[in-house]
């Protein structure tokens, strides 16, 4: 199964400039798709997850148009040929 992962501009430094990466995960969850991404481009991992393997507070991960925060987090299932997007949250402040 192939999954396409959209890479935001801030992380393309770690994906040889690619804005999309196609991976073939070993399983059907977001965690497994992301694992395949880390294997190919290890620098992305620590930008997206903290050291407790939780998605960083201000980073959102979408499967299609659904934010995985509301669909089971990293255990969310990824349908065939779907796109995962890594997107920094919109937030105001400083």
């Amino acid at each position: 199964m192939k999954v396409t992962i959209y890479i935001p501009a801030a992380l393309r430094e770690f994906t040889d400039g690619r804005n999309e990466v196609s991976v073939e995960p070993s399983g059907a969850t977001v965690a497994e798709a992301l694992s395949a991404l880390w294997n190919a481009y290890p620098g992305v991992r620590d930008r997206v997850l903290n050291e407790q393997d939780q998605v960083r507070q201000h980073i959102n991960i979408f499967v299609g148009n659904e934010n995985i925060r509301y669909t089971g987090g990293l255990t969310t299932r990824v349908p065939k040929n779907s796109q995962i997007s890594i997107v920094p949250a919109v937030s105001g402040g400083q």
Partner: protein
């Protein structure tokens, strides 16, 4: 035996006894059938010897009733209690499965199984502890795993009320014992405090959980011996043999913390153990390749294009400025009148900490950068032209802590004689140490495991360890400042720490002079008088002349004793600078007049320094790390404000100049003289150096290009 024969076929309450299924420390267990609710149950008949008097029987009944309220999938439910012929009986859920003791065998279980069971046991303990019930006899023989893999903890709260020394085969012939009102349990699982005769509390259960996890992972008990005396001695004094692969370091760390001899040094709650086990579990299962990742790959370097860089020559003077939107590097010479500006580096990232490391052959700038994408420690060996951009965050909490890094507040160099030593103070409050010039970092456990830590409270800026002060005359002594935890000192190189806050007020606490919990803002030490410390507190300016043992109020003549930075003259240990602000509520300099206050008599009196500083409607704030002194003669002093203005004095504070304005909020200011012979070789290409203060108008476009260049 007669007892068994008599009971089989009898009805206890509404349960008909069918067969004996076991015999344990408390009595005999039967399978029975509840004829009203039509379900199989277990009935434990407590031997008379276990409850020799009315009072102990009543206590057992009371405990059993309390435990019956523990509805939890990992706790064997108690349905009913009663008496028959003077014997007490307990009707409980019939759990069919194998004991964890039997499953662990002699080799132990695979780590992922231990984690899976451990999470469930910790969850059961958490529920019971929440209800004020302590197990007191947790052991692998009391834990049953069903064929579906569901863990059930048996006999909650019963041990304390049950006496007698009855053989309990599954626990290697060590029986549940109780020879007084407080000591109960099974010897190899007993916590040191229980052996000392103290009452067991929830943390004694967490000790037992550590023993259970150790046994489940290895098939061995952590504390052994041929006799009860030897086992007791091992529990009191010995460190268990380490568990290596396949037991992951995270699990071993959790077990070790459960097995801390002092209850205060263990996890304080079962939920913490559960979270830590889950963290190791998720790390290992969701991302199985993680361990390899963390050692793979060289550090990456990002070259900063389209940014003005400064060109550094021998004996140049640099000022490092960290702001909440990036970092700047300023260059001048010993006169410190004209400045070139490089940057901004790390567009949009908060830079809370910077440092210049000129020890040995180094000329390295350190910076911590924080953004949505996490916090990183980065360095540059060419004055900002390129920076490391590590694939893995070098400063990170171990999995077993259940904690993740929020920010790096302080980067402190080790002593001159330890050129590879570095320290980072971070949020949430913890100290990290590197002994290889920043390549690898480790959490200073002695401080992280301090029993006070659970009671430190976050200040306005978060719960941060923001100040690290090394005693140059004593390699074992170091101080840290924590908001809000106070001052802590180590005398053994970081292994153990004591709170050193005698005399420091904590106005926000019911007890105004507590042992710890003060909101210290900054500490300064002078190398010529290392026993003396100055401290700016959240309300209060203090001095200690005895390595922090006692503190004396020295706010003699300042308009307010609230403030953030305190810096010390490099050659005069009696000369200190501070910037008072009006109050906790209005954290701006008093009366809108920007004034630095100086004492030249160690705090006996203070004088304002203001020539060249705005004295009207200057509602400025200077943050704790946004002020520094240089080592030149005369001494220079530099500070930045939250409104983004950088001020400096090259004559010890007599006259001031605005060096730069319009920066983002300034978080930290550091400076250094570059003592280097070979800079021309390492910095061959540089943009045209400006003659006056200037920032390139198109400097806001930062593009980065990765280069696999090793330092």
């Amino acid at each position: 035996m007669n007892e068994v024969l008599v009971l089989i076929g009898q009805v206890l309450g509404h349960c008909r006894v069918i067969a004996q299924i076991g015999e344990g420390g408390m009595g005999v267990v039967y399978r029975a059938y509840d004829e009203v609710l039509h379900r199989d149950v277990a009935v434990k008949v407590v031997k008379k010897s276990a409850t020799p008097d009315i009072s102990s029987r009543q206590n057992l009944l009371q405990e059993a009733r309390a435990s019956s309220s523990l509805a939890h999938p990992n706790i064997c439910t108690i349905y009913d209690v009663g008496e028959i012929g003077g014997d007490l009986y307990i009707v409980m859920e019939l759990v069919e499965g194998k004991s964890l003791h039997g499953l662990a065998g002699e080799m132990g279980l695979p780590p992922e199984t231990v984690l899976r069971y451990g999470v469930q046991i910790a969850s059961a303990l958490a529920r019971a502890h929440d209800r004020g019930i302590v197990h007191r006899d947790l052991k692998t023989a009391n834990i049953v795993v069903t064929p579906e893999g569901l863990v059930k903890v048996l006999d909650f709260g019963l041990a304390k009320r049950v006496g007698g020394g009855i053989l309990d085969a599954p626990t290697l012939s060590f029986s549940t014992v109780q020879d007084g009102s407080s000591m109960s349990g099974t010897l190899p699982y007993m916590a040191p405090e229980v052996l000392r005769g103290d009452a067991a509390d929830s943390r004694s259960d967490l000790w037992a959980l550590g023993v259970v996890l150790y046994e489940a992972a290895s098939g061995r008990l952590p504390f052994g011996g041929r006799t009860g005396f030897e086992i007791s001695a091992a529990i009191m004094r010995e460190i268990p043999n380490p568990l290596g692969p396949p037991v992951p370091p995270g699990l071993w760390a959790i077990i070790q913390r459960c097995l801390a001899k002092e209850p205060m040094q263990r996890y304080q709650r079962a939920t913490e153990v559960q979270a830590a086990l889950e963290a190791v579990q998720s790390g290992g299962i969701a991302f199985p390749e993680a361990a390899e990742d963390r050692t793979a790959g060289p550090p990456r370097t990002t070259t900063m294009h389209s940014i003005r860089h400064v060109r550094i020559k021998k004996r140049d003077f640099v000022v490092l400025v960290g702001t909440n939107k990036g970092a700047f590097i300023l260059r001048s010479n010993a006169q410190r009148r004209r400045w070139d500006v490089g940057g901004p580096y790390f567009h949009g990232h908060s830079v809370y900490a910077m440092a210049y490391d000129g020890r040995g052959d180094q000329r390295r700038i350190w910076a911590s950068t924080s953004s949505f994408w996490g916090t990183l420690l980065r360095s540059s060996d060419d004055f900002g032209k390129s920076w490391t951009n590590p694939q893995q965050a070098p400063v990170r909490f171990p999995a077993d802590t259940g904690t993740s890094l929020k920010n790096i507040w302080q980067i402190t160099l080790g002593r001159a004689e330890e050129p590879d030593r570095l320290y980072c103070g971070v949020e949430p409050a913890a100290l990290f140490e590197s002994r290889d010039a920043g390549q690898n970092w480790s959490l200073v456990r002695g401080l992280f495991d301090h029993p006070h830590r659970p009671r430190w409270m976050p200040g306005n800026g978060g719960l941060a360890l923001h100040t690290i002060v090394l005693d140059p005359s004593n390699q074992q002594r170091m101080y840290v400042g924590i908001s809000s935890g106070g001052v802590y000192r180590t005398e053994d190189g970081g292994q153990s720490w004591t709170a050193q806050n005698r005399g420091i007020r904590a106005l926000f606490m019911p007890e105004k002079y507590p042992e710890f919990g003060q909101c210290v803002h900054k500490i300064a030490l002078h190398p010529a008088r290392p026993e003396r410390l100055f401290l700016q507190n959240h309300w209060g300016l203090y001095r200690s002349d005895d390595c922090g043992e006692h503190w004396t109020d020295i706010a003699n003549g300042v308009p307010s004793d609230f403030g953030f930075p305190v810096v010390i003259h490099p050659r005069d240990p009696d000369c200190v600078y501070a910037v008072p602000v009006e109050s906790e509520e209005f954290r701006c300099v008093c009366d809108g007049r920007l004034r630095v206050y100086r004492t030249r008599n160690a705090g006996a009196s203070w004088e304002p320094l203001m020539r060249g500083l705005p004295q009207k409607q200057a509602y400025e704030t200077v943050l704790r790390d946004a002020m520094t002194t240089d080592s030149l003669d005369p001494v220079g002093i530099y500070f930045g404000t939250r409104s983004g203005q950088l001020f400096g004095s090259n004559d010890e504070g007599k006259n001031w100049n605005r060096i730069l304005g319009g920066l983002p909020s300034i978080l930290c200011v550091r400076c250094a003289v570059v003592e280097d012979e070979g800079l021309g070789n390492v910095f061959p290409v540089s943009p045209k150096a400006p003659q006056q203060v200037s920032r390139k108008s198109n400097a806001s476009h930062q593009s980065t290009k990765r280069k696999n260049k090793k330092r």
